[in-house]
Structure formats: C-alpha cells, structure tokens
C-alpha cells in the first residue's frame, strides 16, 4: 500500500469513527437528564472520537507527505505544488485546494473537541454528539467514494491517472508521472496565506461550540446553564474570526491590486456575515447572564451564526457565485451535497428551537433608556441588520438560481458599483455601533438615572464634539473639500466610541477593578472605523494623468484617469512627487535586496539560475562576484520606482512586483507599500510591455570598428574597449575546441551613466558561427558581434534599437490606515482580556456596582 492508499484509508476510518462516536455520545445522553450519563456509552463515544482524531491526523500527514515529497502522480500535489516551492509555502498548498481546507476545518474541530472532552464535564455527551455529527458531514466532503452512482465527496488522494484518464500520454505510458507540479497560485505565496486560512478556519470551527451547547441545551431542556460556557467560547471565536478576517484584508491590501483591503467580494462577505451575527449573539448571551433578558435572541443568534457559516461554505464552494468572485474556488460537483447538508442543519436546528421556544425564559421587565441592557440590545440588533444587508446583496446569484429553479429567468446582477452600494448601508452600521457601544459601556457599570447618565456622558461628549470639529476643519483645510454628512457622522461617532469607552476604562482602572475587555475591544472597533473612514474615504490617487495628453477628450470630464506611463529613467511629476522608473529586478534568495536584471545573465535551460555580470553587493558586503552562478526566483519581476516628494523632501524606493503567468492569464501585479506613521503610499504596475512577447527591433545597423573606436548610436555614443576570450560561464555550452570572443563596449547613456555590453561571437570547431547578443535594457539597445576580421583588426557590431522599457503605474496615498490595523490589534486584545477574565472564578464584583433587586424571571 502506498501513501495515498493509507491516506484514503484514514479518511474512511475517520468518517466511520465519526459515525460511531456520534452514536456513542447520543446513546450516552439519550433520554437522560444533563449530567446523568450512561458511562459505558460515553466511554465508547469518547474512544471513537479519539480514533477519529488520530485518523484525521493520519490524513493530514499523508497529504502533507505527498506535497512535501513532490509526488506528482497525485493530482493534489501536481495542481497545488511545484519543485521550486519553499517548505513554508508547501503549508499553504495544503489548503489551497478545497479538500485541504475542509481538512483544516475538520482538524480544528478535533482539537476543540479534545478541549471539550477534557473540560465540559456534564455537557460532554450532548455537546460532543453534535460535534461528531458535524464531523460526519465534513468528513464526507473529502470521502471520495461512489455510492450508487452518486459521488460522495472529493478525495485529495486521487491520482492524476484517475483525474485525467483521457490524457493521451497514459495510452503510451500508463506509469507516466509529471516531472513538476503546476505550482501554488502566485498570489498565495505570501506569509499571510500561511496563517490567515488556519486562523479563519479556527474561527469557523469555534462557532460550532456555542452552537453545540445551544443544541445540547435545547435537547436536554437545560435552557440557561449553557450560557456561561457559550460566552467564553463565543469570545474566543469572535476574537479569532475577527482577527482572521482582518488578516485576509491585510493580505489583500498587500498582494492584490484592487487598491484597498476590502472589496465586498462574496468570499469576504461570506465570513463577515457570520462574524457580525456571532458578535451580536455574544452580546445577547451577556445580556442574559447579566440582565436575565434576551435569552431567546441569544438562542436564535447562536444557531444563526453556525447556519451562516454553513451557508458561507455553500456560497463559496458550490459554484453558485460563478464569476462574481475573484476567489477561484472551483466547483467540485459537490453543490448538491453541500445544499443537502445546509438544509439538514437548518431544518433540524429550527425544529429544535420551535420545540423548546415556549419554555425559554423571557423577562417581563421593561427596559428604560437608562438601562445599559437596552442599548446593548439595540446595538446587537443593528449588527444583525448590517449582516442581513450584506447577506441579501451577496445572495443575488442565489436568488437568480432559486427563481431559475422555478422556471423563471432572472437577469438580476450584483450592483455595478458594489463599494458605493455597501458603503451606503455599512457606514451607518459603523455609526450606530460606535454610538451604542459608547453609550452602553458608560451605563453598564453603574445603576443609572437621568443625573448619572448626564454625568458620565458629558465629558466624552464634549471632547468628541471638540475633536470632531477640529477634524472637519483640518479636512477642509488640507483637502479643500467639504466632508459629506455621512462622513461627519462616522467621524463624530467614531470619536465618541473611542472616548466614551476610554473614559470608562480609565474609571474602572481608577476604581481598581478588572480591566474591561469589552471597553478595550470597543475602542479597537471605533479606531478601525476611523481608520476605514480616513484611508478609504480620503484615499488619494497620486498617479493622475496630468500630461495633458489624452487619446480622446470625449468623456474626459467625468472619468478618472488613474494610471501614468513612466519611461525608464525618465522622471514623471505627479502632484508633489517625482517618480522615476529605473529598471527590473529579481529576488535572489540569500541576498537581502533585490538584484538588478542588468547584473544577471540568464542561464540557458535553467530559469532559476543566473550568472552575475558584476559584483552583487548590499552595502559593503559582497554576496556574489562576477561570474558566480546564483539562484533567482524568476517568477516575479520587481519594478524599481524611486519616489521623491518635492515638498517634504522624502525619498524612498518602491518595488511593485508583477508576474507574467500564462496559467492565471496574463500579468499578476502586486503592490509595494511605503509605510509612514500617518499614511501609506501604495503603488502597483497596471501594465508593462508583455514580457513573453518578442520585442520589435529596428533594422540592424552595422558598425565596423577597431578597438577604442567610438560608435555613434542614435541618441548615445559608445566606445569599443576591448575584445577578450569568453569563458564557458554563462551556460554558453561551448565544446572543447570552440572559440568564443566577447566584445566589451561601453555605452554612455543619459546623465553619462555607463553601460557595459558584452556581445559574444563563437566559432565552432566545425567552422559553424554563433552569436550571442547582449541587450542594454535601459537604453533599448541590442548589440551583436557579427564578424571579426583578424587581418585588419576590425570588429563588426550590429546594433538594433527598440522602444524603451516602460511601466504603467498606479499610485495612491492612504491616510491614517494605521488606525485600522492598530484598532484590529486592540479589538483582538480586548477579546483576549475578556476570555481570560471570564475564565476566572468567582468573578470579582465591581465596587460601584449596586446589587440589583431580584429579577422577575418567568418561565412560561
């Protein structure tokens, strides 16, 4: 048996063990009250879950072994990996495919399941029954077996031969194994892609815990005790998912070239929606714990969160989105299976809720304006409405499919300007969240009447108004444009969110009570909102085409022309900046800076190697000497663009990169970003002369010269310095007896910059003549050594010219984007603090908190 068979066997074992474990845990708990568990069945279920966990790890080891061992007879390795991929990116290959990402999700469920088995005591049996039940479904997605003609799941251990049996090569050579894989998507070769997917899937996996507790509570009729553990797990989930989403945003900012961090892509939305609902659910749970109100809401939202995670999975993996998304999740033909699962969970959990609905306790207490609970409740409602809005729009392709199912043809499309559409609503979500989080936090820690409310709110409110007015003035002064009303609202409430939460935080610290995780994450959220307002609302295009040269003036008044063409070494002025594109560079592993292409001579037959034409050094340290062979990464070309801010005197260099990639179709451009404390300069190439296309060379002009003669080329002059024997360095493939001569020509370019060109002339033993041209890319010159006349001492050079190299560049400024990232960190920190404090027992009671009167909790 080989590694793939072992892997597939582990998949089947893990699947069967999940079924057995579900049965065991179910029987252990069936017909019994919570805590009264059938010990034998419990041990059975637990044992089966351990077997399941071990098998899952076996699957992972096998799959990683296949990728790491470059076993391209397996489709997964062939389509996601390649020989030249570093090990840390092999980890990303693992979850590039759907099967691997399912596996990741399954793995996290196993890990969390282990924590629950250890720590949940009387809850273990019913909660783990739900866990194991979910695992059955997830495992079946990678099962890859045919049941009665129906494909159940897609196995990652499928062989190339099984996946593409019709390849002609298998007729000739049934044992054919590809030499190299097709490689990992270039855009995923980024460190964030190593940690972002696991974080996101951990977040997904964590939403199962409160769901499982809620279901267990409904099942056992224990309708209140589940809240406390559910809060802790929701806090972990909310923090992890929130940070995971923002990691994705940061990756997009750094790697994709749509000019920002959030594009309202369906795949982004699919994670954003459950996160909003999870956070709303968390607030509802806390409301119950503290104010004995909102339990029905908590139940509904916790269940909804998990169902939305399943819906997100369905959206992104069933192919229903078609081309509405940039993410290339392929349709594995499993949409039917996914839909059945989604429906199963929807029906089962709603049935459970309906069954127990009347028994869920409700509060008869009327909330007043002075109750923090009211504001928390309103805030949670706002979150849900925000989630609903994104859900409704993102599902437009689903609505089309749905009415199409009934025979109606719908031509509804996503809004043409998605950013404007979502912003219209989500901006107000931000406004209300910042406002209510501030108010609720101020009221939360004390018993309130009109006076106390006014007391605590007045200082933050006054500071907010001052700050906001100052902000509005500054924007008007700097940008010469008025702030629109929604922006003013977001600025004001965002500031209020920061200041109100901060003032509460300070008060709590002064009173010597615990740090409030809630206040910390609310400050984080409010900072994020301010960061989004500044960086997205006031993002400024630097690369406005101001040359006055427009192809057509027909529509120019309303269309932005955001890209400029920069000729190599020809400075272009844009606003306060002077930009100069100075050439193409490569990444050479081991050398800390990019290496100019002019210093590298390509090696024939191995694009991953190059010969140094001169010293490659960074600072004083010499990494390679002339003639040394070094390793390069040929996939990415880095375009060096020097920036000079003529107002502030700032000078810096950016290296936006692009990859000419046939398989992905064309040019993949990634930005380079210069970070300042108060803004980022973000820049990417939008177009370059096609690197795969032969250049258009002019007719060759010949010059017959002797040593030290001067050549007058179009715009430049050059001196033929020397001729010397060429060595077999640059992979010339010389045979013994071949003679090679290389000319040394110095070309004087702009600003007297000197370029060395080394065209080579080869005379073989047989008398065959070969020529290797040399190119001065900076000047668009190609020089060949065409002939040598030893009698007269004359050398004939052929010179051809081409259009000079250029890039088309887009550059923009993103003010105060650091607020967004630091807000994210604070938000994560706040969740962390809250988790730690919830874990502590018994909870310290805040000094100023007046004990409340007995609440009237009525179970109907």
């Amino acid at each position: 048996m080989n590694i793939g068979d072992w892997g597939h066997l582990s998949v089947i074992v893990a699947f069967v063990a999940a079924v057995v474990s579900t049965l065991g845990y179910y029987m252990a708990s069936r017909g019994r009250a919570l805590g009264d568990t059938d010990a034998a069945w419990l041990r059975f279920g637990r044992g089966a879950f351990v077997v399941h966990g071990v098998a899952v790890i076996g699957v992972i080891v096998a799959l990683f072994g296949i990728i790491h061992g470059h076993r391209y007879e397996y489709y997964y390795a062939w389509s996601h990996s390649s020989n030249h991929l570093p090990v840390y990116y092999m980890i990303s290959c693992f979850w590039e495919g759907q099967e691997g990402s399912f596996l990741l999700w399954i793995f996290w469920h196993v890990v969390i399941g282990a924590f629950i088995i250890r720590g949940s005591r009387q809850w273990e049996a019913p909660v783990m029954a739900v866990f194991a039940f979910v695992q059955i479904f997830l495992m079946s997605m990678i099962l890859g077996v045919l049941v009665g003609g129906l494909k159940l799941g897609s196995s990652p251990f499928i062989l190339m031969k099984e996946f593409m049996p019709d390849l002609p090569v298998y007729k000739l050579n049934p044992d054919f194994v590809p030499q190299d894989g097709t490689g990992l998507n270039a855009l995923l070769q980024n460190y964030w892609m190593v940690i972002h997917p696991p974080t996101l899937f951990l977040g997904f996996a964590l939403t199962l815990v409160p769901f499982a507790y809620a279901v267990a509570g409904l099942w056992k009729g224990e309708l209140t005790q589940w809240v406390s553990p559910a809060i802790r797990w929701s806090l972990v989930g909310g923090g992890v998912l929130g940070v995971g989403i923002m990691m994705g945003a940061y990756w997009a900012y750094e790697t994709l070239n749509f000019g920002g961090y959030w594009n309202w892509d369906p795949v982004e939305n699919a994670v954003y929606i459950p996160w909003l609902v999870l956070v709303a659910a968390l607030h509802a749970l806390v409301l119950w714990q503290r104010g004995k109100t909102g339990l029905r809401t908590a139940f509904s939202l916790v269940v909804a969160t998990f169902l939305l995670v399943l819906y997100a999975t369905f959206l992104t993996r069933s192919g229903v989105l078609g081309n509405a998304s940039v993410h290339s999740f392929t349709d594995l033909g499993l949409s039917g299976q996914l839909l059945v699962y989604l429906m199963a969970f929807v029906v089962l959990s709603i049935a459970l809720l309906v069954w127990r609905w009347k028994q869920i306790p409700v509060s008869e207490k009327e909330l007043t304006m002075y109750n923090a609970e009211l504001w928390v409740f309103v805030g949670a409602t706002v979150l849900c409405l925000g989630a609903f809005q994104v859900l409704f729009t993102t599902s437009i392709p689903v609505w089309n499919a749905l009415v199409g199912f009934f025979g109606i043809k719908s031509n509804l499309a996503l809004p043409a300007d998605q950013i404007a559409h979502y912003t219209k609503f989500q901006l107000w979500l931000g406004v209300l969240v910042a406002l209510f989080s501030g108010i609720a936090q101020l009221l939360w820690w004390q018993r309130n009447d009109k006076e106390t409310v006014l007391n605590s709110i007045s200082i933050p409110a006054i500071l907010t108004l001052l700050g906001a007015s100052l902000g509005i003035l500054l924007v008007r002064q700097n940008g010469a444009h008025q702030m629109s009303l929604p922006y003013i609202a977001l600025l004001t409430t965002g500031l209020f969110g920061v200041l109100a939460n901060l003032s509460m935080l300070l008060q709590l610290v002064r009173r010597g009570v615990r740090l409030s995780g809630g206040a910390v994450s609310h400050i984080g959220i409010a900072l994020m909102l301010l960061g989004i307002l500044a960086s997205a609302g006031y993002s400024k295009i630097i690369s406005q085409n101001t040359s006055g040269l427009l192809y057509s003036r027909q529509f120019s008044e309303e269309d932005n022309r955001d890209n400029v063409l920069l000729w190599r070494n020809d400075p272009g002025k844009m606003g306060p900046y002077e930009l100069t594109y100075t050439g193409q560079y490569f990444d050479a592993p081991g050398v800390p800076e990019y290496v100019s292409k002019e210093l590298l001579f390509p090696v024939v037959n191995d694009e991953y190697k190059a010969v140094a034409r001169g010293e490659i050094k960074v600072g004083e340290k010499v990494y390679y000497k002339a003639g040394d062979t070094l390793e390069i990464r040929p996939e990415d070309t880095y375009y060096r663009v020097a920036y000079k801010n003529q107002e502030s005197g700032d000078e810096f260099v950016l290296f936006p990169r692009a990859q000419a990639n046939e398989e992905m179709g064309g040019l993949l451009a990634s930005p380079d970003i210069k970070l300042f404390w108060d803004h980022d300069i973000y820049s990417h190439v939008s177009s370059v002369p096609d690197p795969n296309k032969e250049k258009d060379w002019s007719e060759v002009k010949q010059y017959s010269v002797a040593m030290n003669d001067t050549l007058f080329l179009n715009d430049y002059f050059a001196i033929f310095k020397n001729a010397e024997p060429a060595h077999n360095t640059a992979g010339l493939g010389l045979n013994p007896g071949d003679v090679a001569v290389q000319g040394d020509i110095i070309v004087y370019g702009e600003k007297n910059k000197q370029y060395h060109a080394h065209p080579i002339f080869i005379v073989g033993k047989s008398g065959m003549v070969g020529r290797v041209a040399d190119e001065v890319e900076d000047l668009g010159l190609r020089i060949t050594l065409d002939n040598i006349d030893p009698q007269k001492g004359k050398f004939t050079f052929g010179v051809a010219t081409t259009q000079k190299d250029y890039v088309i560049l887009k550059a923009m400024e993103k003010p105060f984007i650091n607020l967004l990232w630091s807000g994210t960190l604070l938000m994560g920190l706040g969740f962390g603090i809250a988790v730690v404090q919830r874990g502590r027992k018994p909870k310290p009671v805040p000094a100023a908190k007046v004990p409340r009167g007995a609440k009237q909790v009525q179970a109907a």
Binding site: P168, P178, F388, A416, N545, D559, N563, E662, G665, S687
Partner: protein, 142 residues
C-alpha cells in the same frame, strides 16, 4: 404597546427598506440593444453586458486598440453580445493583460454617445478552471 414590539416593528421596517434599496441598486444583465434603449430613456444606471470578442480568420481580435505610449488610460475594443450585436466599448484604464485570451467578457457600465463606457471588465478565461496542460506529457509522446 411594549417597547420590544416597537423595536421589532422598526427592525422589520428597516429590513424592508434594505431589500427595496438593494433591488434599486441591483444591476441587470442586458443586451446592447437594451442598453441603448435605457440610455435613450435617460436611465444612467450601470448595466452588465455579456459578450464575445470578434475574431478574424487568423484568430486575431478585431477592432481592439491600446496604445499606452499615447494614453495609458484609453483602451477600446469591439464586443459582440449574445444577440450578435457588435458595439464599441471604451475602458478608461490600462488594457487587462489577459484580455486577448479571454473567451467571454462581462462588462459593466453604460452607453454614452454611441459608445459603451465600461468601468469594470470581468474576463472568463478558458484556461482558468478547466484542465491545465500537463507539462512533459506531450514531450514524452514525441
């Protein structure tokens, strides 16, 4: 009436508002003929058009123009919609690099003075999701 009921009513009202507003924002897939009719009625809403690039006998694309050295932000091409109506499209951005290879093109934008001004181009490339070529597979046959 209890406050919760009031809140519920407000929530339902906002939800309905969201649905209505989304329906108003949603774009539609149309043909060039319909796009022209919309523009003639003064409806400036941006629409989606699905089409193919016209090719001559040698598989060259007809009517495509991009001259970055003259104006990097001007790209124009012809598109044939599903009803076989051909229309000039202008895109005020650099030409997408994988444009030539695309099988199907989805554009969003609207008609202005007899040309369709696109602000977004979605390309469906044949190579993207179907079986890729297996390198070395053909070599070993020869």
């Amino acid at each position: 009436m209890k406050k919760t009921h009031l809140l519920a009513l407000v929530v339902i009202a906002i939800a309905i508002g969201i649905v209505v507003a989304t329906a108003g924002d949603a774009s539609v897939y149309v043909s060039f003929k319909e796009a022209k009719e919309l523009a003639a009625d003064g409806d400036l809403r941006k629409v989606h058009v699905v089409g193919r690039l016209p090719h001559d006998g040698q598989k060259n694309i007809i009517g495509m123009q991009y001259n970055p050295t003259l104006d990097p932000n001007y790209f124009t091409f012809m598109l044939v919609d599903t009803n076989k109506v051909q229309q000039q499209v202008v895109y005020f951005n650099p030409k997408p690099q994988d444009f030539d290879k695309s099988e199907q093109v989805v554009i969003t934008g609207n008609m202005r003075n007899d040309v369709f001004v696109a602000d977004k181009i979605l390309l469906k490339c044949p190579s993207k999701y179907v079986e890729k070529d297996v390198k070395g597979a053909t070599a070993s046959i020869n």
